[in-house]
Amino acid sequence: MLLPFFEWAEGTGLGTFIRNSLWLFPVIEAVHLLGLCLLGGAVLIVDLRMLGAGLTNQRIADLARYARPFLIAALIILVSTGVLLFFSEAVKLYYNRSFWVKITALPIALLVTFLVRDRFARDEKLETSLRSRVLGITSIALWFTVAAAGRWIGFS
């Protein structure tokens, strides 16, 4: 059902342009990887704190507020480079199981991050608790799934 969309994406001028370039795909991929580093830092500094580790003398709300612009910046970098990579090899991705794992886990991770985790993290009184630990471990597990499945696209 979705295959025509994937075929269209790969056939666009953008997809063809990236595919026909020797160095464009690797360079976009490298930027995608730098985005992963930034996302990892912005997510983990808050998640570790929620688990009662890392910067434990700081309030969760403060750390989340400081990290938020970089979390959003990282996601902008990752999604824009990810879309470019997708266009260049969409049909291959359609038949790639890891891609589907990643693309399923990604919206769940985004929803949990911005609708659940962020809402709790805005509460100035949120301290390390069962609730914060569940949020932290869920966030780490979801983003780990997205990243691991993403890396495995190249191996499957």
């Binding site: 020797l22 160095w23 690797p26 991929e29 490298a30 990887l33 730098l34 992963l36 580093c37 930034l38 996302l39 990892g40 830092g41 912005a42 997510v43 983990l44 500094i45 570790l48 580790a53 890392g54 910067l55 434990t56 003398n57 700081q58 403060d62 750390l63 400081y66 990290a67 612009p69 970089f70 983003w143 780990f144 990243a147 691991a148 890396r151 495995w152 191996f155």
Partner: protein, 184 residues
């Protein structure tokens, strides 16, 4: 060193690792995912040292409480990195991106050493300053650029554009990668 690597490559475990169906990809994936922990926490600390974010958090909170996590990430990166190198030492030895990555690693390491031996020793004077002194900001900027360079050159190792066996290569490449070009 080269003869050691040549011997290393002939050891049975090296061959088994390179030809393994899952072990090599799992090592490589662990190496890449550890970036999120290692470079991620380094960037967060650098943002504090640059005075860009976490301004109300003391610098010593980062070096005391977050740095251990950064070190865990580094340990995983080094262990998986050495294992990946062990799988095909000669290929990496002659890879220009691998060489660039090693130089950038040395630069990043020197920067870490300078920061801790000089700048962080006087942290008591500026621990809670929203914007740390120029030397600390400079070290943080070098850190971000050096680690980003390590990540990018590391990713490029996978590509064979400048491999010695794909001649002709520019003279600079043959010099920098130490290519042995057979006489005609």
């Amino acid at each position: 060193m080269l003869s050691f690597f040549e011997w290393l490559e002939t050891t049975p475990w090296s061959i088994a690792l390179l030809e393994s169906l899952y072990v090599w990809p799992l090592l490589e994936s662990t190496h890449v995912l550890s970036l999120a922990l290692f470079v991620g926490t380094a960037i967060m600390m650098d943002l504090r040292l640059l005075g860009i974010s976490f301004r109300s958090v003391p610098a010593t909170a980062f070096t005391g409480r977050l740095l251990p996590w950064n070190h865990i990430g580094f340990a995983v990166m080094v262990i998986t990195g050495l294992a990946l190198f062990y799988a095909s030492p000669i290929r990496y030895y002659y890879n220009i991106f691998f060489r660039a990555k090693m130089l950038l690693l040395i630069l990043a390491g020197l920067n870490v050493w300078l920061f801790h031996s000089r700048i962080h020793r006087l942290v008591g004077d500026w621990d809670t300053d929203p914007v740390p002194p120029r030397a600390a900001r400079f070290a943080a900027a070098v850190s971000i650029m050096a680690w980003a360079g390590v990540v990018v050159t590391g990713r490029m190792i996978a590509y064979n554009w400048f491999d010695c066996d794909l001649q002709p290569q520019p003279a600079f490449v043959n010099w920098a990668a130490d290519c042995v070009i057979p006489e005609r």
